[in-house]
Symmetry: D2
Subunit: 393 residues, 4 copies
């Protein structure tokens, strides 16, 4: 029996076990950095499988499991993120979140369950492994600021890793379909803050003021011009001004106006070109009117998630042995799996869960987000298959 | 001795008395509708002058004094507003405000003192009066919403009034200079609120949202086009967008965006044309993108302050007997003295207090606003002179 | 019989004569600098009245008549412009223009006829004149560039003039009503040209170009912001972008874009503030994108037309003896009578010709513009009356 | 010897012959629909090679050659376009264009030479062909309006064709590199014209006009918002406003304003969404101000060029046997080879000619565009190889 057949049979035995783990985590969602019970469940489950476990790797709730093969080989890391979102669950699944205002609305509960399933398969087929399989259970992917990957990497989680793989469940693709692409697959999220310092005054006498709202209008228009005119239109790219706040009263022109937003790009040149234009636009337009300004970009944001082309070609062939694999467009969301890919070649890929019949049609982050649990076994299978294949390269 | 000489002499006697009243009020500023101690001081002072006093006219802190001439004649109303502003005084006068965060930054303390000075002169020259002089001490001019004039009028303060006059101290004109104009002199302040209801979503996928901030940009640009293209450029007119609020997080496009501001005009046709355009702009631009919207104009705002042309011609001649009188440009601030002028012909005029030597250079509403007290006697004199002249018409 | 009664009777005798002169000129309209037959008619008519005539004063078609009083007195200049407009007349008067594409659409034919009528009255009442009455028949007011006034002034036409008056017929006011105002009455027309030099390229690859049209959009939006935010909203002021030209083909982004327009203001500070902002806006916004630019303002344009306040007060009283006189809003059109007013105190005023019953309802410069000829005698009368009164001051 | 080796040897023999043909055509460039001498040269050359020739296929200058295999098989079409551009050549090659203002600035001369080279190879290896190889020499690709492909198709050129291939030389890729991609590779060029009909008037009185330039500003801003906010930012997409014309004089607001430009997209849904928004934007914004408008999209423009995914996979493997093959980003230029791909599966691909050492660095359509002639044999080889492989499928 070939490897795929073997693993397919094995995963059938534990399908329900995987689902139950997922539901338990779904009922007890925990926000970024507070994944205490989830990480405890992971550590216990790994230990029950006889896997070497290290807790608190870089972060209190970070867990790493290690399965060593009987012969030398490559070190393959498999990653699952664990945190939930500040969303009030409105879907009516029986295992609905029991925590007010917190929900696994992005499927990280399924990621943990699928990787524990993969761990089970790997332990059961330990003889097929070479080198080391490193199971990374990462907190705080949704944090969007520092993020959980960075501290784990600083704590050495990627030392000696030859390949790294990560799966994300997504309602953008049909149930059971794997979707990925070579090169950049997810964007870097350059959060920005623009503050215009004008000089307030009476609403009836704008000429005696430096009107920060009017200036912000000109800046915002020019910023949207960056997308429409300055960036290569073939490049996936977007700037969104997502907050604007200024003023208190209808007859008082305020002193200051503040805008925040995000620049999403998949290319470092495009990224720096956009930021340069933004700085020039803000300072030049403020200069016209004698206003002063601040333009701040959040530092050390998640990098661009770049799939290694050769690895991706190979993985797509491997995965096509267990399901349909499609080449997807890039996504302008962001993922700190990108930091792992900066340390070792690997691939980040989506596992589709969209199933009209089962009502699994809502986008990730929606309060009605729901998952076709039939796909979970495929995730576990993919983890195990890649671990075995690449550890033996 | 002619009337002017007589009154000039009389006012010299009480100049210091007027100044002390002003300083007492300045030290104890009271916000709109809470002018308790100021109105008590007014009522007591009027009674000491033997003047018939009515308190609580339309508002608890409103005070009206009546001086009746010995022979029939016209009823002339003289008005002074009493409220202070939510401003922290930073000027270093010895009689600085003793109330944290409250200051007579618009000179209403001087208005009360000057009208009490005028009352003194009228009592002293009672024989020269015909008909009735009605002294209106009005709360809450700065309120900007309902305002104190309206309830006083509804309580009958303007019943039977033939002429009405009001003075406002202003650092826009040189000390002692009277400034006014025929026809519209101050604007109506149409406060507006625009709410754009879009559909929020992820900052990286604007195409899946109805972006209320982007829509508000287009609306704001078109609104400023009303001033630049749709309103007669000879007409004093301004629209100011003074607040804009939308969004909470750099990567989330919000559902809604809210803007507030003010339309200032001196002409009813211009006013309704501007409001029509604003409604059309907001609904049309929202319509392009499938957003819904609300456009609200505050109701029953202060009317346009319109000086009666004939009365103004006559008053300018009278005042030129006691000081320099200039014809001023209209001002796009607002005043609820306009409501009194809707009930009887009259005139609203400024008394200059700008004096570089004395450091009286800061604009009204400034935390450093200060008054050249030498002009106060002129205000009292003007009140008395107009009362006598017009009561005898 | 007083002066006004005398002149009223005299002008009745020549009313028809004035109307016939007007109609003759109306049938033979001549464009700026080409008023050959009109100026010939003027010279002949003056000579027939025994008036001393000088032709070619500064311009070939300029004519000056001089009537000297018997006793010393003031020199009073009265001015009428003579040129027509490049407009195809579509009104159906029997004395319609006989010249294709040229029409007296702004009433300069009536100005000539009224001043010749005034000359007749002055000759007839020569004894009432002191000093000298100087009749200025000026070419090329409509030229908008150099204009006819400047060369005539350089040729000495205003040497020794004490007062100068000019009438303009206008359908903005009711028939027979005089309208004027103290101070600035007409604007200075700062014509501007903005050229943005970008770098063209393919319409599908804007990022490889410096798109002059996009840049011009930002500039134009900011320019309209000058009106809405930077200039005192009480000041009559307008900027109009009246031409924009760029590009030849739908798939080629051009190199350059050119805009023209006009700034109209009644105040030198406002004027220079607007021009400064325009320069800063164009250079700053071009600077953002690496474009270069030119901002040119036409030189030596017609100045602001400023009526002398004292003279205006006096003239309004004089004119009220022959008709209704109203104080008008300023007009943002331009007039090179302004150059005469820079040389001597005087007044420029409108004579209304709007008459619904007679169908005289079209605005000046309209191809259907028509005049209520009953008012022409009033214009002649006004010229004579002012000449007599001010020459005797 | 395998097929590739055989063809490589054969093409060496005729490399110079191919280059000479190219240079002859380069010296005698002919604009769209006027490729008389080029098509004569093609017909003669084909006949000399013993190939069945048909001239005037749908267009006078269109030429089709047919090479029939000895055994049944597939019909494979190979296409080369023939027209030059209205560009004055400024490159200093010895075989520079001899026709003023006309130049082969896009390499269509090389396309003809490479396809004639391919024809030579196919005739020489006729025994390896099955079915039919149809050589399409197409006029007027650069025309951008109707284009040459459409009439040839209507004349039956694609009847019975099983596969179709087209090569385009491009300085965007290194010399000798083949570049292509599955799915959409070039855009559909929706040329648009927007006319705003307002109501002109005097530059000083915009409120009496419906200002078409101001309205066009609002429209243009909103149009660029389509790119920035309404279209999926991952989608290659651009709108360029490339011409704007309005107005004649600095003091006259014109009646009308006209804009032209192009929408480039690779997806029919995106394309129709953009056009819908454009219509809504123009009509809604015109509606605000009472202007009327026209929005016209050029009809029957070149479709999206869509490479058949399966054929592309196969071709990329075949071509990798003779040179480097890279997967390229889509290009937002347009090509009427797209019409051939609507009739039969096939692939359009680029052949790189960028060679710094040889100074071949200028973009297509540049007056300095020049080609590294060493690559021409590769193009001939590719034509022959694909014809043989796919005719035998």
């Amino acid at each position: 029996m070939d490897l795929v057949e073997k693993l397919k049979n094995d995963v059938k035995e534990i399908e329900d076990w995987i689902i139950q783990i997922r539901r338990k985590i779904h009922e007890n969602p925990e926000l970024s950095y507070k994944e205490y019970s989830t990480s405890k469940l992971v550590a216990e489950t790994l230990r029950k499988l006889g896997i070497e476990v290290e807790e608190g790797v870089g972060l209190p709730t970070a867990v790493v499991g290690k399965i060593r093969g009987n012969k030398p080989g490559k070190t393959v890391a498999l990653r699952a993120d664990m945190d939930a979102l500040p969303v009030e669950e409105t879907s009516d699944v029986e295992f609905k979140s029991k925590v007010k205002g917190v929900m696994h609305a992005c499927g990280h509960d399924t990621h943990v369950a699928m990787l524990l399933g993969g761990a089970y398969l790997l332990v059961k087929n330990k003889d097929l492994i070479s080198g080391e399989i490193r199971l990374i259970f990462q907190p705080a992917e949704e944090d969007g600021g520092l993020g959980g990957a960075k501290p784990m990497i600083e704590a050495g989680v990627m030392n000696g890793v030859d390949y790294v793989f990560g799966i994300h469940i997504s309602s953008s693709y049909p149930s059971g379909v794997f979707a990925t692409r070579k090169g950049p697959i997810m964007a870097t999220p350059d959060a920005f803050k623009i503050v215009v310092h004008g000089k307030g005054g009476h609403g009836s006498a704008p000429h005696e003021t430096i009107d920060p709202i009017f200036i912000s209008l000109q800046i915002a228009n020019a910023i949207y011009g960056i997308t429409a005119r300055q960036i290569d239109p073939v490049q996936p790219f977007v700037i969104s001004i997502t907050t604007i706040h200024s003023g208190t009263k209808d007859n008082i022109i305020p002193d200051d106006a503040e805008m925040q937003g995000t620049i999403r790009s998949l290319d470092e040149n495009v990224r720096s070109k956009a930021k340069d234009y933004m700085r020039r636009i803000v300072s030049s337009i403020c200069g016209i009117y004698g206003a002063t300004c601040e333009v701040k970009f959040m530092e050390d944001v998640y990098p661009i998630t770049v799939n290694n082309p050769e690895v991706t070609d190979e993985v797509m062939k491997i995965l096509s042995s267990i399901s349909t694999v499609v080449e997807t467009e890039p996504v302008l969301g962001a993922e700190d799996f990108s930091r792992f890919l900066q340390k070792a070649p690997g691939m980040y890929f989506f596992l589709g869960t969209r199933n009209e019949k089962k009502g699994c049609i809502y986008p990730n982050h929606s309060s009605k987000f729901c998952v076709d649990e039939d796909v979970l076994k495929l995730g576990a299978l993919a983890h195990a298959l890649l671990a075995i294949k690449f550890s033996n390269k």
